[in-house]
């Protein structure tokens, strides 16, 4: 028990990953603790998805190593590993003609035998996953007919049906409206294993304020390396956001929940602008839209 509680879920040492001649992630040391919600942030192309590919065994390490609960990742068999770690990629493919229930049932694959016979816990896991993302009413609808946000919830249900102690989510809130984004992230935080311990969640999020709200720990990536690690309070500082995103921002505190809130003020210019230049109309500086995506 104490072993499982204290052993990191993932530990990487000097990890480098890449495609062909290009190295996308280099020399990354990080630790993912059990029971925590860890959020990866970083600009587009900073290596977040590549890191996920490493953790989900799609890219073998070019150098360094990845350990899952003290075992080298390469030594684990695919199906037992899929019963431990679930992955929601950015753009999965909807197969033709499937209903919601049938698609969610595919999350049960690692629990089945090689010829695909249903496993005993299937129906219960599927039912629970469908209710968690509020899709019971749509269970028999073809997935092709659903809206983008509904589809995204189907994919999340599929990952939940996989019923693993650890889930990796690559931009799970894409295509969701704000209310569903908040609902999903709260759901992720509140996931529990049958023994009562929290599910370990690692998520890539672009929406910094939601990240600050749900994360226990934030890992900020820049150009394939780790730029900052810590609690949201430690990572969401004006200095770090400047370094990670080239983003000029103010940090305030959420009056109710106390987490940091990022107020974007603009993208870093070649030369720093004098304070207040932006708010004065008629100045020669270029107007920068407020609320620009951090990505």
């Amino acid at each position: 028990m104490s072993d499982l509680q204290s052993t990191p879920v993932f530990r990487t040492e000097g990890l480098s990953l890449g495609y062909g001649p290009r190295t996308a992630v280099s020399d990354v040391d990080l630790v993912i603790n059990p029971g925590e919600t860890t959020v990866l942030i970083g600009a587009n192309g900073s290596g977040k998805s590549t890191l996920f590919k490493g953790l989900s065994r799609q890219l073998p390490p070019r150098s360094g190593r990845i350990q899952f609960r003290s075992q080298d990742l390469g030594q684990l068999r695919p199906k037992p590993y899929a019963r431990q770690v679930a992955l929601l990629p950015q753009s999965p493919v909807v197969p033709e003609g499937l209903t919601v229930a049938e698609l969610v049932a595919r999350g049960r694959h690692p629990h089945r035998r090689w010829w695909g016979a249903p496993s005993p816990g299937d129906d219960e896991a599927i039912a629970r996953a469908l209710s968690m993302v509020d899709l019971e009413q749509l269970a028999e609808r073809p997935v092709d007919e659903l809206s983008g946000g509904q589809r995204q919830r189907v994919w999340i249900a599929l990952v939940l049906a996989q019923d693993t102690p650890t889930v990796l989510l690559d931009e799970p809130t894409a295509a969701l409206d704000l209310a569903h984004q908040v609902e999903l992230l709260d759901l992720m935080r509140s996931l529990r294993r049958p023994d009562g311990s929290r599910t370990t969640v690692v998520a890539v999020l672009h929406e910094l304020n939601l990240a600050a709200r749900v994360a226990d720990r934030v890992i900020a990536l820049k150009e394939g390396g780790v730029q900052a690690v810590g609690t949201p309070d430690e990572v969401f500082t004006e200095q770090t956001l400047w370094e990670v995103f080239d983003l000029e921002a103010e940090i305030v505190r959420d009056p109710t929940e106390g987490h940091p809130v990022v107020l974007p003020r603009g993208r870093r210019r070649a030369a720093a602008e004098p304070e207040g230049a932006r708010t004065e109309p008629g100045e020669s500086t270029v107007e920068v839209p407020v609320g620009m995506e951090a990505s």
Binding site: Y19, G20, K53, S56, R57, Q58, P78, K79, P80, Y81, A82, R83, V85, A86, L87, L88, P89, Q90, S91, P92, V93, V94, P95, E96, G97, L98, T99, A101, E102, A105, R106, G107, H109, P110, W114, W115, G116, P118, D122, D123, E124, I126, A127, R128, L130, S131, E136, A139, E140, P142, D144, L158, Q162, L168
Partner: protein
């Protein structure tokens, strides 16, 4: 939501699938019965069973045992193989036009057959073996072309649009070989080769039937298992890996079994055009849009046996080979699929 209601939904869906498959199999059996018993030489049902039991009825025994029965059985077996091959290709390549007959497997078989007639002077069962070799060579060429092209893109496996393009190229090559060799064949051989390249059941023999059945006994269960194993792979490579599957391996295996089925069917009947292409969308339409390997096989069998019946009986003395009929139906359907795809009906 309760587990019981998920179970109810699941049972209802699998019940529908079984019902469809059962009705399709009955339809195939009925059509085979029609093919054997009716037509220009009609056999009564009691006579048919007496012949099966070994009784010799002058004339009838010969026609049933040497022509009509092997013809119906070979048509059904080849149609089953074509239909299942089409469903396997479609599952992996996710394109309604990606069937073995469009992708040069059938053309490769035809090229192998006519080349062996011309260069080696083969006839009969030898032609079937040459066709099998031709189809496998075509598949090897497609695989080699698409993998080497793929290596530069950083992706692995032989799956994707490159496979489609390579397949169309190999198909054109196969057609060129067929046309080139046909121009040089003697008149007598050319006629035999022409009937063969059109695809027909005219030379249905028990030998060929045994060859097809031997492959089907292995390939049919394999196809059903692989289609099941493709379930995670059809969600995209990343999610498939996350689910503990090995998508590259399974996709390659599935295409391999598809090639084997198409090759054997072509070797025994000639390249019956569009059967593989037609069977999958028809079966999917009957099955609520899902791709089903057994249902596609049954539809393929139904198409071939019916086309043979129509070609042999409906045009008086012309007796068109089955491949002409399937081609005549298939070409407009292929155009329709193209139009539908361009409208974005494919997800």
């Amino acid at each position: 939501m309760k587990a019981a209601s998920v179970q109810t939904i699941r049972r209802r869906q699998s019940h529908r699938g079984r019902l469809l498959l059962a009705s399709l199999l009955i339809a195939v059996l009925v059509m085979m019965g029609v093919r054997v018993l009716l037509g220009q030489y009609t056999v009564t049902l009691p006579d048919f069973f007496r012949i099966l039991a070994g009784e010799r009825i002058p004339g009838a025994t010969f026609i049933v045992m040497q022509d009509k029965l092997p013809r119906a059985l070979l048509g059904a077996a080849a149609g089953l193989a074509f239909g299942m091959a089409g469903a396997l290709f479609r599952t992996v390549l996710r394109n309604p036009l990606a069937s073995p007959d469009v992708l040069g497997i059938n053309a490769g078989a035809a090229a192998g057959a006519v080349a062996s007639i011309y260069f080696l002077g083969t006839s009969g069962a030898g032609v079937a073996w040459a066709a099998l070799v031709g189809a496998l060579v075509a598949a090897g060429l497609i695989a080699a072309a698409s993998t080497s092209l793929h290596a530069g893109a950083g992706a692995s496996g032989i799956v994707g649009e490159r496979f489609l393009l390579a397949g169309i190229g190999v198909g054109a090559l196969g057609q060129a070989v067929v046309v080139g060799v046909m121009a040089r064949l003697s008149t007598q051989n050319a006629q035999g080769a022409a009937v063969w390249t059109a695809g027909s059941l005219n030379s249905s023999t028990w030998d060929r039937l045994v060859l097809v059945l031997a492959v089907l006994v292995v390939a049919v269960p394999l196809a059903v298992i692989l289609h099941r194993a493709m379930e995670p792979a059809s969600l995209g490579k990343e999610l498939a890996v996350g689910l503990g599957s090995r998508p590259g391996l399974i996709q390659t295996g599935t295409l391999g079994v598809g090639v084997l089925l198409a090759a054997v069917a072509t070797a025994s009947t000639g390249p019956l055009s569009f059967v593989a292409l037609l069977a999958t969308p028809i079966a999917a339409a009957l099955h609520g849009g899902r791709i089903s390997v057994p249902a596609s096989g049954a539809v393929g069998a139904l198409i071939v046996v019916s086309a043979d019946m129509v070609g042999a009986e409906m045009f008086g003395d012309a007796r068109l080979p089955a491949g002409v009929i399937t081609g005549a139906i298939g070409a407009p359907v292929m155009l329709w699929l193209l139009v539908k795809q361009r409208r974005g009906a494919q997800s």
